[in-house]
């Protein structure tokens, strides 16, 4: 039989800080950021987006050319050191035009998202918070708007309003907010039955305060995720409209009309299609990956 030595039975040392929390405590955002950072694909998306945004802001200023001046001597040049992306059939520098287009696309995306955010959150929040008859009426209106095909409505609106950035944004804003409103309403319905809201109400908080201070913070994660999907939708929207000829008109550059032009000339000058296409796809791809990543990071419950 094995002999068990006595020194294996020493009393445990008393440690005073056994209960102490070693790791720093993280709030919701720090925790979300930590989760997002560990998602490589989403981080690549974020970095690409930041790079593209910087280029869209800086490149047109730094470039020797502007987006509309025509140099008829330099028609249809292939990419070179002076014209990084080549030139088009009016001798306009494609590098500058692509970044101008990116700028416009991002601008449309951000404005559309802001409108969606304000209208959708207010509408959804009010509808869910008050409930009952108010909710009923507001939801019936939403159901009708929701089933109107957005793109078709936009096409006829723009045909009649005249093309341009403003028309595109108006057309998008008219129906785009519905998705956000539905989402916010669903989430608010879920949150508003919880005890802390009841407590706030018992303490005499007004509806506006409850919505802004208690309900919105609880749905903000969802809203952010939704925005990362709205921006690419709006960008796609502009590009699609420009592609079929009702969006932004030349000489103003937009990714949509650059791709449209490129598609016409691709047989002889493939660079005119390839560069705007790559930038456009990168924007959409990055937003989508980032959105997926944010969804996992901001809403751990949703994660599989």
């Amino acid at each position: 039989m094995e002999i068990i030595s006595k020194d294996k039975f020493q009393p445990a040392e008393k440690t005073t800080n056994a209960e102490s929390i070693v790791r720093p405590s993280l709030n919701y955002w720090q925790d979300a950021w930590r989760r997002l950072r560990s998602n490589k694909l989403a981080m690549v998306g974020l970095v690409v987006l930041i790079l593209l945004t910087l280029l869209a802001i800086v490149a047109p200023f730094v470039s020797k050319f502007d987006y509309e001046t025509q140099y008829l001597k330099d028609i249809d040049l292939k990419p070179s050191m002076t014209h990084f992306f080549g030139t088009d059939d009016f001798g306009r520098d494609l590098w500058t035009r692509v970044w101008w287009g990116t700028r416009i696309s991002l601008f449309i995306g951000l404005v559309a998202a802001s409108i969606d955010l304000v209208v959708g959150v207010l509408y959804g929040g009010i509808s869910a918070y008050f409930g009952g008859r108010v909710d009923n009426v507001m939801q019936r209106i939403i159901e009708v708007i929701y089933s109107i095909p957005l793109l078709l409505l936009a096409i006829i609106l723009i045909v009649f309003l005249g093309p341009g950035i403003k028309s595109i944004i108006i057309a998008y804003a008219l129906t785009g907010w519905v998705g956000m409103a539905r989402l916010v309403r669903g989430q608010v319905l879920l949150v508003k039955e919880q005890e802390f809201v009841l407590a706030a109400r018992t303490l005499g908080a007004k509806p506006a305060r409850i919505i802004l201070q208690h309900l919105i913070p609880n749905v903000i994660g969802l809203i952010i995720v939704q925005i990362t999907f709205i921006v690419p939708t709006a960008i796609f929207f502009e590009a699609f409209l420009s592609f079929i000829g009702v969006g932004i008109k030349p000489p103003m550059a937009s990714l949509g009309n650059l791709i449209n032009d490129g598609a016409h000339y691709m047989r002889y000058q493939p660079h005119r299609l390839i560069f705007p296409t790559i930038v456009f796809s990168l924007i959409l791809l990055s937003f989508n990956v980032l959105g997926d990543g944010l969804r996992d990071a901001l809403d751990p419950k949703m994660r599989k």
Partner: protein
């Protein structure tokens, strides 16, 4: 159930009515003379007769009711640019090509999309899953108006594998259908993957596994049936995707379909054609959404009970 169907039907009618009304009043907003340049030179008496002939002298609400009546009877008016062609004739003439293209791309997309989704779910969190989902992500991010010209250029012009355009033999169908199916494949694959993953954690699948069934058997006879149900909900987005896709794909590949007509009418500012085709497309989409709701109501009783999507 009947109440639910009726309710959705009423919504469908309201939505259609909103669209028809919107198009009517947008038409009224148009600046200028409805009879074009020539009519501006006509003496006032003739113009008055013309206006009477088209009912433009009546108050707007009467014109509006008349317009609704016409649309309800399937009369969408006459082309503004080519007064000999009625909108309905154009639809009859060019819709079949679009429909064929749409169906071909749908068949292809359903096969590839579902397979991709199932494959990704089976290889969950492995390399296969990631690559399948990356393909799907690209399908969502790279829209048809990028895919279509690229396909036409690469396969058609550069490598001469398939015709780069036109609509004649079966070989002319492949590229447009392929270009049109990209987005749909992506939507379907993502949906199918999520739905398969959800089903795969259920108890009856464990039972099937412990009985010793092969993966093939489990997937085909146990998982698919339940996993495929939620896919019905995305029929609406898919229909939107296919229709907006045809607008682009037909223009790129010169397919003589309705999408091509629509884009042409937009570029030539053929107002009656634009509004007529918009109403037609809207009607298709709204009917698809209606059928989706009904189908889902049948499939999932919880939806029917709450009456909300």
């Amino acid at each position: 159930m009947l109440k639910y169907v009726l309710r959705r039907f009423v919504y469908m009618l309201i939505t259609l009515w909103v669209i028809i009304t919107a198009t009517f009043f947008l038409m009224k907003l148009l600046p200028g003379n409805p009879f074009g340049e020539v009519a501006a030179k006509l003496p006032p008496e003739n113009l008055k007769i013309l206006r009477e002939q088209y009912g433009l002298d009546k108050p707007e609400w009467q014109q509006y009711l008349k317009y609704i009546g016409h649309v309800a009877q399937g009369d969408l008016g006459v082309s503004y640019q080519f007064p000999t062609r009625s909108v309905v004739d154009v639809i009859k003439q060019s819709f079949p090509a679009s429909l064929e293209l749409g169906i071909e791309s749908l068949i292809f997309a359903v096969i590839v999309g579902l397979l991709l989704g199932i494959f990704a779910a089976l290889k969950h969190n492995k390399a296969g899953d990631y690559s399948a989902m990356f393909i799907a992500l690209i399908g969502i991010s790279v829209p048809s108006f990028v895919v279509a010209p690229l396909l036409s250029y690469l396969l058609g012009n550069k490598w001469h594998i398939l015709p780069a355009g036109l609509w004649q033999g079966p070989e002319h169908r492949i590229l447009p259908a392929l270009a049109l199916s990209f987005g749909t494949i992506a939507i379907l694959a993502r949906m199918m993957r999520a739905s398969m993953l959800e089903v795969s954690s259920l108890d009856y699948i464990k039972t099937a596994k412990s009985k010793g069934l092969t993966t093939w058997k489990i997937v085909t006879s146990h998982m698919l049936r339940n996993a495929i149900l939620p896919v019905i909900t995305i029929l609406g987005p898919i229909a939107v995707n296919v229709i907006t896709g045809t607008l682009v794909v037909e223009s790129v590949f010169s397919v003589p379909g309705l999408g091509y007509q629509f884009v042409t009418s937009i570029t030539t500012l053929d107002y009656t054609m634009i509004t007529g085709l918009t109403i037609f497309y809207a009607a298709i989409l709204i009917i698809v959404m209606f059928l989706t709701d009904i189908a889902y109501g049948f499939v999932d009783p919880r939806i029917r009970m709450s009456g909300r999507r």
